[in-house]
């Protein structure tokens, strides 16, 4: 490398849910000057949904993302509840919760076992040709099978409720279409012991291997930001309802009890020329100081307790690692995700036997009673906002979506920069270092098909740019 500024590009970033690239800008001395995470996809849902009936919205917006379609289905149905001005029957709320739990399980299992376990178990420096789920199946078949079966369990909860694993048209404004059958409940119950075993073992495994990754934990996104997410009325862990809490890295509450429907009063969005993914920030602190993180790490930092015993034990151990402050390393998203899988499995168990879940009243019928509605839920990756305006016939006139992954955009960019500064010195860049930078992004489990709801995609590429912005070199791993 000459004594000029350069840019390294990682393109595509792989084992991510979407299309992205990373560029790293070096100064004349070969030191990292800046690094960016670019999302290269845009699909335009906010515009083309205009004019469509409110009742179609759950089905259409679910197609934003095949990994967490249930999140969109539920946030959309909840926005619809608001437009109808109804509160949904208790059974419907329980059933929606149940489906969301199924999704948390399957999506978190995908992130941990299928996408990140290859780094964690085969090694960050393992051969890139086999550093994937198939390589894991060959080297750690039992673990891979467990991961596949855990994800399958989550998918089956969704299928049992909605008739389909991906894109069930089940939740509607006012409630849900079909109750949980006796047979379905039995089928879920039968698989619970295995799901519980796998989730406990995965948590133990992560704790055991975490030491090996002390260096990664320190440089893959360890910094202070705010954390934002839903908590239940009693301050407990929440994924479907509740109010917004905001906390800083010291563990101090910045805001609590915020109405999620008023999100615009505390969340603003910025745009950068180099990414299709927008940059939401906490309004009061401005841009980019108002960076906040959402998702499993945020939820576990924010809540006072988990709803179930094993998960609460796990949460306490997790929080103890930070001595009462917030856990700040993004690498521990993995850890938090595994605690949440356990919580979700336990909650499924509680909910299928809850009397209220069994009531046949599952849908409130009503017409259009308001001209707008905001639906909010916790997607696996964080808080999701669907905000609709409709005309008197219920045709959509305006849509705004704030997606979980977008809210981590500032933090993902800082992670890439922190990781690049640590790993890249001069021109010799081992493949394993590039993979670590990608792993920093992977820890957030970004879902880019979601976040750009959007017309595009997410590959990783590293490009080197010179002092005048000219492209000097491009590194694409193969």
């Amino acid at each position: 490398m000459s004594a000029e500024n350069k840019t390294i590009t990682i393109d595509p970033v792989t084992r991510l849910e979407g299309h992205a690239r990373i560029t790293i800008h070096l100064d004349a001395g070969g030191a990292v000057e800046d690094a960016r995470f670019h999302v290269t996809e845009f699909r335009g849902f906010e515009k083309f949904c205009e004019g469509r009936p409110l009742w179609e919205m759950p089905g259409i917006t679910a197609r934003i993302c095949g990994i967490c379609p249930v999140s969109h289905l539920l946030a959309s149905a909840k926005a619809g509840d608001e437009v109808l001005a109804v509160s949904v029957p208790e059974a419907a709320a329980n059933l929606r919760r149940l489906m969301n739990l199924g999704q948390i399980i399957q999506s978190h299992a995908l992130s941990f076992f299928h996408l990140s376990a290859p780094d964690l178990l085969l090694g960050m420096d393992a051969d890139p040709g086999t550093r994937n789920v198939f390589g894991l199946m060959a080297k750690e078949p039992d673990l891979a099978r467990d991961g596949i079966r855990l994800r399958q369990f989550g998918q089956e909860v969704i299928e049992i409720l909605g008739g389909k694993k991906i894109h069930p048209s089940w939740a509607v404004p006012g409630g849900v279409r079909v109750p949980l059958s006796e047979k379905g409940r039995d089928a879920i119950r039968e698989r619970l012991p295995e799901a519980r075993r796998i989730s406990r073992e995965a948590l133990d495994l992560f704790r055991k291997i975490a030491e090996r990754f002390a260096e990664e934990a320190a440089v893959l996104g360890d910094f202070s930001t705010l954390f934002l997410g839903l908590v239940a009325k009693d301050g407990g862990w929440e994924h479907y309802d509740g109010t917004i809490r905001v906390m800083d890295s010291e563990g101090i509450r910045v805001a609590d009890g915020l109405d999620p429907r008023q999100y615009r009063s505390y969340i603003a969005e910025a745009v950068e020329d180099w990414s299709y993914l927008k940059f939401p920030y906490y309004r009061e602190r401005g841009y980019p100081d108002g960076a906040y993180r959402v998702g499993p790490l945020a939820r576990l930092n924010l809540c006072d307790h988990m709803p179930t015993p094993l998960a609460e034990e796990a949460r306490q151990a997790f929080r103890a690692t930070a001595d009462g402050k917030a856990v700040t390393s993004s690498f521990y998203y993995h850890y938090a995700r595994l605690v949440e899988i356990l919580a979700a499995v336990e909650e499924v168990e509680r909910l299928i036997d809850d009397e209220k879940t069994r009531s046949p009243r599952i849908r409130a019928e009503a017409g259009v009673n308001r001209s707008n509605g905001v639906g909010v839920s916790e997607a696996p990756r964080g808080t999701l906002f669907h905000d609709y305006e409709v005309d008197e016939h219920g045709l959509i006139t305006r849509v705004n979506l704030i997606i979980a992954t977008g809210q981590n955009n500032l933090a993902m960019n800082r992670t890439v920069l922190q990781a690049a500064r640590h790993y890249i010195k001069g021109s010799a860049i081992p493949e394993g270092f590039l993979n670590r930078i990608e792993a920093g992004v992977r820890a957030f489990d970004p879902c880019l098909s979601c976040s750009t709801h959007a017309l595009g995609q997410m590959p990783l590429q590293v490009t080197l740019y010179g002092p005048k912005g000219e492209k000097l070199d491009e590194r694409t791993r193969d």
């Binding site: 515009k47 197609r63 993302c65 299928h114 996408l115 994937n132 596949i148 910025a270 017309l455 490009t463």
Partner: protein, 189 residues
């Protein structure tokens, strides 16, 4: 596919398959992962040489079959699709977005991407936003979202939003072990 080469050389090379994700929601890929434990059998039958779930960055040469999810929405998609066609024997349009454009093409009646871009990056943003336009890092959107067959020749279509795992499995089984005269269906576990 490689059916005819059966008796020519002694050890038959393992089939090389790939999956590609263009402008879609990844639901088709999730349905592929819903093959669950059958993936172990797939790994016996073939090598997965390129996929969003793997780390190979450049689409390789000499691929036997590829499943392509999603429609063609931007210049990156277009470029990759042409490369994939040139390097692959059997190209499968995988799911409704790939076959018809489906939900991805709902922006087409807007007549170009500008109004959608304006909506997302100008109207919903505080201050003066403008759509991302740094072409070294974010690809230009096509005026219209295209189904795959309008860009390249397609050899097979797998319908569904997403296609069911059963349909994916059947297609892969047929592709990877074409029924020969001597052998009927699979009998392996």
């Amino acid at each position: 596919m490689s059916a005819k080469s059966k008796n020519r050389t002694a050890p038959k090379p393992r089939p090389r398959i790939a999956t590609v994700w263009l402008a879609g929601c990844s639901g088709c890929h999730m349905s592929f992962l819903d093959l669950d434990e059958w993936l172990f059998e797939l790994a016996e039958l073939a090598d997965v040489v390129y996929s969003p779930v793997a780390d190979v960055k450049e689409y390789p040469e000499n691929v036997d079959a590829v499943l392509i999810e999603g429609a063609v929405a931007n210049l990156d998609n277009l470029e990759l699709l042409k490369k994939v066609r040139a390097r692959t024997r059997l190209v499968v349009a995988f799911g409704d977005c790939a076959i018809t454009g489906n939900v991805t093409s709902l922006r087409n009646p807007l007549g170009g991407p500008d109004s959608a871009l304006h909506r997302a990056y100008v109207e919903e943003v505080d201050g003066n936003g403008s759509p991302p336009s740094d072409r070294t890092t974010v690809p230009e959107l096509l005026p219209k979202v295209l189904p795959l067959h309008q860009v390249i020749k397609i050899d097979a279509f797998l319908r569904g939003c997403p296609p069911s795992p059963a349909a994916i499995r059947e297609l892969l089984e047929q592709t990877l072990s074409p029924p020969s005269k001597s052998r009927s269906k699979k009998d392996t576990p």
